[in-house]
Symmetry: C2
Subunit: 112 residues, 2 copies
């Protein structure tokens, strides 16, 4: 876990503040779309690797601009990042961000 996530390890074992709830709701909104979840899974299932947008688009019955929009939402939520090299953009997941969201949903009882 990186320093940027140490400050925000809230979870459902205690009531969330307004501020933390607002921030987390934005991240969950990025996950609240089937195409974005599939995109994220296609990227995150190759840990340590980059995935070319040219590999992602053919797996969706969506236009390239629509796929790019969904990728932008995931990127703005801090769940993935990307780099353009030549013609294509390459994406990778940010495990610490996913781990933080995963940790939010932990309750005392869930693992009792």
């Amino acid at each position: 876990m990186t320093a940027s996530t140490d400050c925000c390890n809230s979870n459902l074992s205690s009531p969330l503040s307004h501020e933390v709830a607002a921030e987390l709701a934005g991240a969950f909104k990025a996950l609240a779309d089937p195409a974005r979840l599939r995109l994220l899974s296609l990227i995150a299932s190759r840990p340590g690797a980059e995935v070319c947008v040219c590999e992602l688009t053919p797996q969706f019955e969506l236009s390239q601009p629509t796929v790019s929009h969904h990728l932008k939402v995931l990127r703005e939520a801090g769940l993935i990042d990307c780099q353009r090299r030549g013609t294509w953009v390459y994406y990778w997941a940010i495990p610490a961000a996913l781990q933080r969201l995963s940790g939010v949903l932990i309750t005392t009882e869930a693992f009792a």
Copy 2:
């Protein structure tokens, strides 16, 4: 973990199918609102206990019908359940459902 979650322990270590992504997106949509996240945290932070709606409403600058609507969304997503007794409705969290969503966000790399 209950039998109902054993069938659906997908996570981001492999690409999600269309069907699983659609179902999970609906659950994440329920979390994509600050008031719902706060409500869920107020309920889930008291494991094994029920929380009266009469305790929840005063903690929000929202009307009771609005709070009830948010609670209904969380209930329809399978994250909480409730029982009416007399004047009030009592809510409790469903840890297995939260644990399942938490597990979805696990990648191979996150815990490497």
